[in-house]
Symmetry: C2
Subunit: 417 residues, 2 copies
């Protein structure tokens, strides 16, 4: 039997396939790998603003379109891209074949607009690869067991790519995007931010949930679960980007891998809630029923009878959240409500925190030195977040970045052994 | 068991669904039938110029795109329309569900860009109808047994609609279009042309093959084979259009149902071909190999050794045809080639010709009276065609229309008993 060929999955986002020229460039990238004797699967999103155009078309005929039909509509965007890429590759003299989610049996549940992948049948892809094709798969979409087309929600094409890489046991999953990797922080705020060579799934998950525009959490969870090495890189250059992998021992020496700032936040505080079992659950069950997605929660006893409960929400959910707590406040004995939407959340993330003490203190004293007041603090095993006045948010991020030397490559930092 | 509900199929062409307003109008049309207690299946084409836009996109990445990928690309146009129509209907408070060709198992052969329907599985449509949905099916498309998407070629959505009407045993198949029915002739040339109330499949087939922009021949063949009453009508009004049906006895009294003119023609004559068996076959086999589609063929012996062979082709094929006959001429002993592209073909069509004599003579003497020279004549059982100078084409059509009273409804014509 012939030696198994190396297999790469390459994912191209909408900006990387926005026009004919970019489609040809993506095609050339696949051909470069193919001509080195590798098998190549490409996963592509809808071109440029196509999805937005389709959403606008839908809203014109129905301001509240049924989700099944929305998926039927939006899935055409990716289908167009993949057939065009296949044409481009054929035009360059290699064999290519495009597939929809249905054609490769990307079976999902039936939760339209945010379906989850249940299984992928790899038979047809394997056959096409073995026949010498570059295979191009429509990202973002699948079918349920009823043959209804589903879509995977925000960041869905990343999830398609990582899931395919897992199912096909690919050697690597390249995510081509308009940035050249994962940065220590947002370069728009801290211009000395540097690209990371490697980062762990857990760290990227935290960064994604804190609003850093890296990759969507679901795809990272998939990669973590199925050991897919994800390579985030630029579609405009051949430079190495950032590898997202399992934690490796040397990561422990790096106190902080990255820092984030989230400004699209609001905070709601219920003051003087009756301190008895089930009251917090009542509040959050009511918020969930109102479809409000709650971020961090802070609860503190203020006496043996009363507690304060605070939480943050995305600004988009602020009005719904205010309405919901207003409805529930009397049932939990809440004495007062307190709202803020002039806040920013500054976070540091690093698996090194697990084994190093003093990281929190370094962050708090940095902010103190800059005279930045901390409204509240939440932590996880690998992150520390401080809510500060929005007006001081950028300054807070910059000062923290300097303390943890996020302007230097990992191996140049003074505290890394 | 409940009485079987009446079932109508409504087909909407691209111009009838070109924008949100028109999509809502089409939706309203289906609702009108539904609210009368009927079951409704809609079949829709791609919106307005969408298909042209996609073809342009394809040619930008590959001037000679592979046909499988072309079908994968173009089928998205209809998929978008049907999901938008379903959204519009839901927005108007009725239940609706859209299906792609694959979802209703519209199984075709694998001849991409001009596939033929092999079977339709009506189970899913029946279930959806019985659940109270208006069902909207993407026209023009199917899948082959490999789950590859196919398209049915020019006029394919008409074929989808008629095939669905046949498979579902619909009471009628409404074809909504931008004209209000089938006319006796082209009103742009003969402005007194009138709409026909009824016409036979065979007559429409002849008219379609002679370039009249009625419906595509394939859909008519389907209707004829499976007894589907086709109603060609305007999407802008509720007026009755033209019924296309099997021949009924009273049609025999109508000498001529319609007249056509085809100007996109060229004629090629091979003069002095050796008059021996197999020579004509050689010529046309060579043309077929060059993918030239030949229309009428006229062959006449000029001596017992020589014959002249003439044929017409679409102007689009003229250059390919000239090249092909030039390659073959010596092998068949041809003495000379003669080309004309300044011609027009004027035809009259009517099932009444089968049983009435003198129709041809009426046509020829009309042209003679107008001093129009006839280059050549071809006939079928229900049509007579004359090739004339292109400059005299319109005049020829008008004079023939007057002779056969194509400006009058059928029952007002002097020769109809």
């Amino acid at each position: 039997m012939a030696k198994k060929k190396e297999l790469v999955v390459q994912k191209f986002g909408g900006t990387s396939v926005a026009n004919a020229e970019k489609i040809k460039r993506a095609a050339q990238r696949a051909i470069n790998e193919f001509d080195q004797g590798k098998q190549v699967i490409m996963v592509a999103s809808a071109r440029g603003q196509q999805t937005d155009v389709l959403i606008k078309d839908a809203l014109e005929v129905n301001p509240n379109p049924p989700k099944r039909e929305m998926d039927q509509l939006l899935s055409t965007g990716e289908q167009q891209t993949v057939s065009l890429i296949a044409m481009a590759i054929e035009g360059m003299g290699r064999k290519a074949i495009s597939f929809t989610g249905a054609q490769i049996r990307m079976i999902t549940d039936s939760v339209h607009t945010k379906a989850r992948i249940k299984s992928i049948d790899t038979k047809r892809i394997k056959k096409a690869l073995d026949e010498g094709n570059i295979v191009i798969v429509a990202g973002f979409q699948g079918v349920d067991e009823n043959e209804d087309i589903t879509t995977l929600g925000r960041g869905g094409s990343d999830t398609s790519a990582v899931a395919l890489a897992a199912a096909m046991k690919a050697n690597t999953c390249d995510i081509f995007t308009d940035v050249d990797g994962v940065y220590t922080t947002d370069p728009r705020v801290f211009k000395e931010a540097v690209k990371l060579d490697q980062i762990s799934y857990d760290e990227v998950l935290e960064m994604a949930s804190l609003g850093a525009g890296v990759m969507h959490g679901r795809s990272i969870e998939f990669g973590k679960k199925y050991n897919v090495v994800i390579h985030v890189r630029s579609s405009m250059s051949d430079k190495k980007g950032t590898l997202i992998t399992h934690e490796v021992p040397q990561m422990e020496g790096i106190l902080v891998s990255g820092a984030t700032i989230e400004k699209n936040l609001a905070k709601i505080s219920l003051i003087g809630v009756d301190n008895k079992p089930g009251n917090a659950a009542k509040v959050f069950a009511h918020l969930a029923a109102a479809k409000v997605s709650v971020n961090d929660i802070i609860q503190t006893e203020v006496s043996n009878k009363k507690a304060n409960v605070s939480f943050t929400v995305s600004k988009n959910d602020f009005n719904d959240a205010k309405k919901a707590v207003d409805e529930i406040k009397e049932k939990v004995g809440c004495e007062n409500l307190f709202f803020r939407d002039d806040i920013a959340e500054v976070s540091i993330i690093g698996v090194g925190m697990r084994t190093h003490y003093g990281v929190a203190n370094m962050m708090f004293s940095t902010l103190a030195k800059e005279k930045i007041n901390i409204d509240s603090i939440t932590t996880s095993e690998i992150r520390i977040s401080c809510i500060v006045d929005k007006a001081q948010g950028d300054k807070a991020l910059v000062s923290v970045c300097k303390t943890f030397e996020l302007d230097k490559p990992v191996n140049k930092r003074s505290y890394v052994k």
